[in-house]
């Protein structure tokens, strides 16, 4: 057995899992599916990161460790100590030149399961079929369906991208031009999914620690950010896609609230003057030096932590905590309290159930993680936000300390807009900036339109809608509709309740 000392809990895991970070679970992929009914995908492959000191992470690995071992070709234990993960090719399931496989014939059982799911749930998009649901927008292929053929599930896999996209060869050939638009992207998704399950070593999931405050971060694009944040070089584009898919969540927030944000008030900079006024968070996040030190003489009064309320949290609440810590490392002298709120905020965090009991000091049974870092605390509430707002759980709100973040909330999406109807007016009332993202341009515009329709003109745009510089570079597939590809945090915009400096009073 390995000569490394392992604690009793870790020794339950095969050494191969401990040694190298396991591939990221596709739970993130599953959660990003944008189905009409917003059904949850069945939870997917084994958990990801190497065991940290954090007990919470160890427990989740342990519970899923047995499933993890079934996915890998685990070598005999005697091989482990002598080989570094870089040369450990015996446990590689898929070599880098062998990443394209048709989903139904994939070497990974989980992808085969997804293919089976697609074949049972996704409908052929050929116009000859009858519609099965209302089209979501003008680009939805459902809108083209005018025929009378009964709707058929997809069965035929495109030979170039390996994903079942049509019910038969005839419909596939007929609709080939439309498919060609996304065939390359689907193939890329296919290879990235296989890459995640290939069992290779993932150096891109090793994140750097805090850095010197004077070494400033450059937020022009992903490459400059990763370079100035002292990440290990990610030369391979596929690795970059895998890494940015997780990092997009903390870095998107960071890119808006940091003082070196790429969004500015010049024309084309997308930040409006109201937006600049609302970035009062920057005073708290970049405090002047106060002479504080580690001794008694260096004690200084500290401001309360910046609260980021992440509403409608689904996959992002289960992101590995070392990914969220990257947000903290962007702001050297600031503290954070991340609050995940939403009915699905405990998705894929089964190891942390049951929730704490509701007591007077914790009236909503929130899961509080305060041992992650000296600068970050994470609380998770499995509640709707309007319940908590009505209860005054977080009042008072202060724009110098608070912000709301909504990751692809689907405000205007027919399946979920009713859930937001009560929350959005309350958010506007707090006059605190609300940062919103969207899966696609259309999704974002629909959300904006819905907000304007719901609350009239009571909204100030802080950040004009547009592509997020720090979007996920990896595209995701919607298992219930293979022609729907989206990427995490594609679009970004921000709003706030309108502040009236003066109002007219009717003169009698």
């Amino acid at each position: 057995m390995s000569s490394r000392r392992v604690c009793q809990r870790c020794s339950a895991l095969p050494a191969s899992i401990q040694r190298a970070p396991a591939p990221l679970s596709a739970r993130i992929a599953a959660k990003r599916c944008f189905t009409l009914s917003r059904t949850k995908q069945p939870s997917k492959s084994p958990s990801d990161n190497p065991p940290l000191q954090n007990k919470r992470r160890l427990s989740s690995l342990e519970s899923q460790g047995q499933r993890a071992s079934s996915e890998y070709v685990a070598p005999p234990a005697s091989q482990q100590p002598t080989q570094s993960p870089h040369e450990d090719n015996s446990r590689l399931l898929l070599k880098p030149d062998n990443l394209f496989h048709s989903f139904s014939n994939s070497p990974s059982p989980e992808i085969r399961r997804r293919a089976a799911f697609m074949k049972q749930n996704a409908y052929c998009p050929h116009p000859a079929h009858a519609q099965t649901r209302q089209p979501i927008g003008p680009h939805d292929l459902e809108a083209r369906k005018t025929g009378t053929h009964p709707p058929a599930h997809v069965r035929y896999e495109c030979p170039d991208c390996g994903i079942p996209v049509s019910c038969s060869y005839e419909h596939f050939a007929d609709d080939y031009e439309n498919h060609l638009d996304i065939c390359d992207q689907l193939r890329e998704i296919n290879e990235d999914d296989h890459d995640l399950r290939s069992g290779r070593f993932f150096p891109e999931f090793e994140y750097p620690g805090p850095q010197l405050e004077e070494a400033q971060v450059n937020m022009t694009n992903w490459d400059t950010l990763l370079y100035t944040r002292e990440f290990n070089a990610i030369d391979n584009e596929r690795s970059l896609r895998q890494a940015t898919r997780l990092l997009t969540y903390p870095i998107t927030i960071g890119s808006v609230i940091h003082e070196l944000s790429p969004y500015n008030i010049k024309s084309g900079g997308r930040l409006t003057p109201e937006g600049l006024k609302s970035m009062t968070l920057r005073y708290t996040l970049h405090p002047p030096r106060s002479g504080a030190g580690m001794t008694i003489a260096g004690l200084r009064p500290n401001p309360p932590p910046t609260r980021l309320f992440i509403l409608g949290a689904r996959a992002e609440s289960s992101l590995p905590r070392e990914v969220w810590i990257q947000l903290v490392h962007l702001f050297p002298r600031a503290t954070f309290h991340l609050i995940f709120i939403g009915p699905e905020s405990m998705a894929n965090r089964d190891a942390e159930f049951p929730l704490p009991p509701r007591t007077a000091s914790n009236p909503f049974g929130a899961v509080v993680e305060d041992r992650i870092s000296g600068q970050m605390k994470i609380s998770t509430f499995v509640e709707y936000y309007h319940t908590l707002h009505a209860a005054g759980a977080f009042a008072p709100y202060d724009p110098y300390f608070d912000a709301f973040v909504l990751f692809h909330p689907g405000l205007g999406h027919p399946a979920s807009s009713h859930e937001w109807a009560e929350t959005i007016p309350q958010l506007l009332e707090t006059k605190v900036p609300v940062i919103c993202t969207g899966y696609t341009e259309y999704d974002m515009q629909r959300d904006i339109k819905w907000v304007h329709d719901t609350v009239g003109g009571e909204v100030d745009m802080l950040l004009e809608p547009g592509e997020n510089r720090f979007r996920s570079l990896r595209w995701d597939l919607n298992d219930a509709d293979p022609s729907d590809v989206s990427c995490g945090n594609f679009g970004l915009w921000a709003f706030r309740g309108k502040r009236y400096e003066t109002t007219r009073k009717d003169v009698e």
């Binding site: 370079y227 290990n232 070089a233």
Partner: protein
């Protein structure tokens, strides 16, 4: 050979050549830096050439020069050709 490895940035390969990630990180600044570099070098070249020209020989081709004297090398005040009134 020092003990242990010399710390090496992952942005350079084993032969200290920049890697792909470094090229991508530099890419937004390539053109701007090249133009700035050209300006600086051009300025230096301009100062240098102007200075060399400024301290070079003057050009007197536009100044009218008098004719050279007819008896070249004749000394006018020698005592060989004339009696001078010596001290009386």
């Amino acid at each position: 050979m020092p003990l242990g490895r010399i710390p090496q940035s992952s942005y350079y390969d084993a032969r200290n050549r920049p890697g792909a990630a470094l090229y991508r990180a530099r890419q937004p600044y390539l053109v701007k830096n090249a133009v700035t570099g050209l300006f600086i070098i051009g300025f230096v070249a301009g100062v240098y050439s102007w200075t060399i020209r400024a301290i070079g020989q003057d050009d007197f081709s536009d100044v009218p020069m008098p004719d050279a004297p007819i008896q070249a090398g004749h000394a006018p005040h020698t005592t060989a050709g004339s009696r001078s009134a010596g001290p009386a």
